[in-house]
């Protein structure tokens, strides 16, 4: 779906849809970065 279709379907302003997508992606990036850090084998930490 395009952002306009999403806005119309959710009855939300287009600006809100844009913002939520952006914040959602940034939050996901933070979560995945944390998980990748946890999954990194011992001894491979950045020095």
């Amino acid at each position: 779906m395009t952002q306009v279709e999403i806005a119309l379907a959710l009855h939300e302003p287009l600006g809100t849809v844009k913002t939520r997508m952006r914040l959602g992606m940034q939050k996901l990036r933070g979560l995945l970065a944390g998980r990748d850090e946890d999954a990194r084998p011992i001894g491979t930490e950045a020095v």
Binding site: T2, L14, K18, R22, G24, Q26, L28, R29
Partner: protein
């Protein structure tokens, strides 16, 4: 679309996430790409969020591709087996466009295979991705071998073990690799396989070209890897053997032909 919606939908600064999620329409996408070409901040945001968008493709429920997909793709790329024709005479050098036309079906099949392998179409586990990538790589290798310059087909005829079977082998005398396609061979249990043999009776030589299985419609394919260039062999045959192959033919012969 009202004026404010239209302005917001144009695609510009700050739209990297929406762009990566495929939520911009065509004109907004073009507009964002034009903007990002001159905006370091947007390019940086695209680079940061691109890996996240890529991983989202694997976050949806995954579907296993049907096991016969690979064979079906190859079969779709080939001419009908019922009309096996003799080797055509050598053509004069084709123009670049004739070459593109000649290879277009293979190119499109390769593109399809790569797209399936790379799109996250059906994989929930890394090993499944690896397995499918391996199959895709094998298909690409088969097609690229088959469409190399100088490759010509030889017909394989049914033998006593499978009276309905047909086959073709695409080869060039100066190469060690060839492609075998078979049709209407009986499907075998997992403990059995078909094995291709390359023979030169004059030199008392017989080498295995590899083993293969057939799908439920009786179609099979094999990337033949000969120990010597194919000009060293005079004829070929396919026999039914144990799944891992034999050192010499032990089962009934199902196909045979001259090289």
């Amino acid at each position: 679309m009202d004026l404010r919606l239209d302005q917001l939908n144009r695609g510009g600064h700050g739209d990297a996430a929406v762009y990566l999620l495929g939520a911009l329409d065509e004109s907004a996408r073009a507009s964002f790409e034009a903007h990002a070409a001159n905006c370091a901040e947007c390019r940086r945001e695209v680079a940061l969020l691109q890996p996240i968008a890529d991983r989202l493709a694997l976050a949806v429920p995954q579907v296993e591709p049907p096991p016969h997909l690979a064979a079906s793709i190859i079969a779709a790329a080939l001419p009908a087996p019922a009309t096996i024709t003799p080797v055509p005479p050598a053509q004069p050098h084709p123009t670049w466009w004739q070459r593109v036309e000649r290879y277009s079906s293979a190119i499109s099949i390769v593109a399809l295979v790569l797209a399936l392998a790379g799109s996250g179409y059906a994989f929930s586990q890394h090993q499944e991705v690896q397995s499918t990538n391996d199959k895709a790589a094998q298909l690409v290798e088969i097609l690229s071998t088959m469409y190399q310059p100088g490759m010509t087909p030889r017909t394989l005829n049914a033998a006593e073990g499978a009276p309905q079977a047909k086959g073709r082998i695409f080869l060039a005398p100066d190469r060690t690799q060839a492609v075998l396609m078979t049709y209407d061979l009986p499907r075998l249990p997992g403990t059995q396989a078909y094995q291709l043999w390359l023979n030169n009776p004059d030199a008392g030589k017989r080498d295995s070209g590899g083993v293969f299985q057939v799908d439920e419609s009786g179609r099979g394919h094999l990337l033949v890897r000969a120990p010597q260039v194919l000009a060293e062999y005079r004829n070929t045959g396919v026999t039914q053997e144990p799944a891992k192959g034999s050192q010499w033919p032990t089962g009934k012969r199902v196909l045979m032909g001259e090289l």
